[in-house]
Symmetry: C2
Subunit: 379 residues, 2 copies
């Protein structure tokens, strides 16, 4: 962290907590009574309350999207390259709201929270959430903050799915939708990778049916494997080749099974280890299920154009050439449906070697296009 924050940083931010006591009905048929959402805001809500932007996070994301929680924080929020004074989501113009979704593990009510009915952590008893459930919970947060209509709802990957869902569920409450590196639904291959991750967690003996907290353990091995396989799908083959190639950790091969030989192995194990220490296994399961279930067109016999016909927003869709998790073709499905539904849509496919993770990176052409779209939004 710099001693003095950069001019284009939102600087120090303090997470806030919103409490809700009216039960929230969920897609699974259950409802959630008391719950809380942790969120951050950047910039100022204008008098007309017309400049609010909602940030929706992806699988392992959270509310801390920009700035620093303390002068000691090593890294800023996860989308700091896109949010701040002069950045694509310019906090001199916009009032930005970023929350941790329900079911998360960063402060909002989720599986690791105490279930008031039992006095013990929810664990696996926490209801499975859907993208639509999240949108409803985000709408309540908007109500609380006095935001009747978002200038924009913005998200990458699973976050882009939430942005799309907003335009379907609350069409009158969204003026612009930005869906980046996203997809209208998962493919069989996408679901298959999620299933491997889930099985890694579910079959870890320390998962204890989702009640590992009471046992004082975490399913570390399962989470590690889940993150490793996920991570491979976030990077392009090229990016991995560029970054690690066939580089070795030491001078020569060890001819054993357990030592770390290739740099890419070392990187993946580190990513897995680090993740397993900070992320909740039940939340991981829940997030992958929300991804698998997302398929708004299913309600209209798979007709995405008809599904999106209710939207009142204008759309910006962006994808990255080497993203093979949600390839440009998946974004074009969204664009084609929007065009068929006669919506205003801008589409940009950005040439970037980083794969799916590109949406998190400060790629000049991406930031430029993102800024260009946001600048044209009237508030």
């Amino acid at each position: 962290m710099p001693a003095v924050f950069a001019e284009d940083s939102v600087g120090l931010v303090t997470p806030q907590v919103a409490h809700f006591s009216e039960p929230l009905a969920l897609a699974c048929g259950r409802s959630l009574g008391d719950y809380q959402l942790v969120y951050e805001t950047y910039g100022e809500l204008n008098a007309a309350r017309s400049n609010a932007v909602l940030i929706c996070h992806a699988l392992s994301g959270h509310h801390h999207a920009a700035g620093y929680h303390s002068a000691d924080e090593r890294k800023p929020g996860w989308w700091d390259s896109c949010i701040g004074p002069g950045k694509p989501i310019d906090t001199r113009k916009f009032f930005v709201v970023s929350l941790n979704n329900l079911g998360g593990c960063n402060g909002s009510t989720g599986p690791s929270s105490i279930n008031p009915a039992t006095g013990t952590p929810f664990g696996a008893e926490f209801p499975v959430m859907t993208v639509e459930d999240w949108v409803h919970s985000q709408a309540r947060l908007a109500d609380l903050l006095g935001i009747q209509q978002w200038a924009a709802v913005v998200g990458g990957s699973l976050g882009g799915m939430q942005a799309l869902q907003w335009t379907i569920t609350y069409p009158e409450r969204v003026r612009h939708c930005l869906a980046i590196a996203s997809a209208p639904k998962l493919s069989a291959q996408n679901i298959a990778f999620n299933e491997v991750a889930r099985q890694a967690i579910l079959t870890d003996p320390e998962f204890h049916g989702g009640h590992f907290q009471e046992q004082g353990v975490i399913p570390k091995r399962g989470l590690m494997l889940a993150r490793m396989v996920g991570h491979i799908t976030y990077l392009s083959d090229d990016a991995m080749g560029e970054k690690f190639g066939r580089g070795l950790k030491s001078e020569k091969l060890n001819y054993d099974f357990h030592s770390v030989e290739f740099q890419v192995e070392s990187y993946l194990r580190y990513q897995g280890e680090e993740f397993s220490g900070r992320f909740d296994a039940n939340t991981y399961l829940l997030m992958t299920k929300a991804l698998d279930y997302f398929d708004p067109a299913a309600a209209h016999d798979g007709d995405l154009a008809r599904t999106l016909s209710v939207a009142q927003a204008d759309f910006c869709v962006m994808s990255f050439t080497t993203d093979w998790r949600f390839s440009p073709a998946r974004s074009r499905e969204i664009v084609d449906a929007l065009l068929a539904a006669r919506k205003n849509v801008s589409y940009l496919e950005i040439d970037a070697p980083q794969g799916h993770d590109a949406f998190l990176m400060p790629i000049p052409r991406y930031l430029q296009a993102f800024r260009g779209y946001m600048n044209r939004i009237e508030v």
Copy 2:
């Protein structure tokens, strides 16, 4: 199995066992004393001993490539579509040899064999094998069978790597090399997927450091996960979409973490379960290491053309459009190096939706090209 074997089947086959007592020096620095290789043959060796074809298997393959072991066998050998009278590798013309590689778990000496030095299974003490080690062991089998020179060495995937290595290690002993759906070395992404599989096995509490046999258990969960992640890479996104799409097992979503909801989940779990019951975990580790280590050009500063310059064989390289494990681009690396080394090479990229597994499938254009090449071989 048909009551009467089809005319183009090699029919009933009986595996044979070759014993070797001269120690085999291995790349890892260790050597293997007494060992055995299990193999099958199809067709007849001609008087000139000039019609022998060696089949090299891939990660989970074995010696049973064609025909049936009994009238009750449900399915024929794994490459039955390519080996038999009138098939691409025509057993009326060729004498075909197919073995289980050293380190395997189908009858050749491997981790589940008894270590004569200890009287207990080798387990994790079995030496890590390389593609070059296998080629040496296959050369000894050739010696035993009185085969001085192969008319062709043929393999898909990891098998193709062995075929390539033959032309480098024993250039005078190979007239034709067919490398199908293969690569000159693994990419970082390839290694990463192998590493996930290895970590799944190694971190399974029932792996017991590779000595699970003595404990009377198998690391079933680890093997299952390894196979699941492997299987995803064998199929194309399109093939998975075509086969399963987002189809559900039952009428509706269950909103839980553990039940099988999507058909692709059911398929993967079945594949994983079935595999974990028939494959040895140490062999799986060993096979992935052999894949990771394969990089013949490393001995020549990464110059594959120079590496292949010693070859005396003619080459046939084939790839499949939707194979993303070893994409056509990887085969073209081999072809480009062969052309630079002024070797005779035929290359065909086959339009096929099945992904990497296409090399095992009876795709008409593939079989036709394969047959065409084999028919032109003089014996």
